[in-house]
Symmetry: C2
Amino acid sequence: MVVTPELLSAFPILKPLPQAVLADVARESLLCKFARRGIVLNAGQREEHICFLFEGRLQGVDFTIDGREVGLYFVEPGDFCGELGLFDGGAQPEYVIALTAAVVVEVPMESLRDVMMKNPGVVNVLGARLAARVRQMTYQRSLLGLPSIAQRVCCQLWTLVPNPDHNERNEAVIANPPTHMEIAIMINVSRETVTRVFQTLQNRQIVKRDGPARLLVNDLQSLRSFAEGKQEL
Amino acid sequence: MVVTPELLSAFPILKPLPQAVLADVARESLLCKFARRGIVLNAGQREEHICFLFEGRLQGVDFTIDGREVGLYFVEPGDFCGELGLFDGGAQPEYVIALTAAVVVEVPMESLRDVMMKNPGVVNVLGARLAARVRQMTYQRSLLGLPSIAQRVCCQLWTLVPNPDHNERNEAVIANPPTHMEIAIMINVSRETVTRVFQTLQNRQIVKRDGPARLLVNDLQSLRSFAEGKQEL
DNA sequence: CAAGCCGCGTGATTGCAGTCACATGAAGCG
DNA sequence: CGCTTCATGTGACTGCAATCACGCGGCTTG
């Protein structure tokens, strides 16, 4: 499908680029749709494109030596993934799969590498993004150190709440929430355990399902205090 | 203490730089010694230097909300840490502490940033290093997904074996090995559990202590098959 | 040299989350 | 429209690692 420069400029990282460059990149890019559970990026291969997510939710996953699934990060609309090879030419280390039906713009790695070489600003932005990724992974790792399982679930839920809502209001909506299983592999617990924590949160009216594609958080402040361990579930 | 350009060129990342540049950087750098448990980098602050490790072993550590220590990575001689701020100007996310007495070259972030701007090659090398860091964190995260605790310990031990020895011979030496506690926080287990696994490994003559500062691995292949889950402990 | 600290070793106990098994209900699909 | 698949809900059981408590020996340190 055709990709317009306007579509590309919807992504914060690409927005600062001059129109002419955007047009070039757009010409070489592809608009792809993925079904739920579709494989967006394959591990082990030298993937030939960077994926910009327009709609839906993706998850980076890895597998342990014995075949267990491990969740690494979520990708939200406006963000991208698969950029590691830009820096070292190496293979994609982890799989990226679609958690919901998703719309993705695939930009060839080569064209982005060219843009990167010519526009010093882009290198900096991409470097900053990679740094942010390291920070996020560090945070996620510290989550795994929490001894209380319920706290882990609440922390993960808290990170799924759109940032602007964190302090603003006392309720929020999480669109296209991950399934219990998908949350479970992020925080090293079993699916049933996540279900049981959600059950408790629902009983206390802290969260509420709103159809299959929306999760309401009624009481952000309570969720927060559980996440921070100020209150026990 | 005085830092010579020759000392700097002992580090693979700096080696390719022209002598003149190295001399400039050397003039602004400091040679620091840290005692065991010394704090090399502080979390939360905007640290003003990158630390190149000359001798000893460092560990990046974070803390959970409730104060538990979490191990993130080890730094070996020839490597460096604290570079994240170079990319996004942000604060150092985690602490870095000395596991053994250590000799460190502290290069001011500003001078390295200058070098980076002027030598496009350096940006690429630093970018590649950051990418390697992401790959390493991904691997470490997948370790945590392993259901068998003994396997986790063996995997971590395996990563401590110097790379060149991996396939070469059937024995190896780990210099300045981390304590059981320091290994424990890397893989989310208790100190006692690490001790018990080591006890088993010693009984089977797979590893052996050689004084306080050296750990002998007698049977690399066995260690490997435990790490890969091909054999149960 | 004595004191104290620290890293390591080890047993007993226990609680908690993993696992298994199955029910239920909603959503996709031919 | 019926069938299947998948996400979720829930109870019973159990095993395993965390925790606690303590001993031991070596190293620093005053």
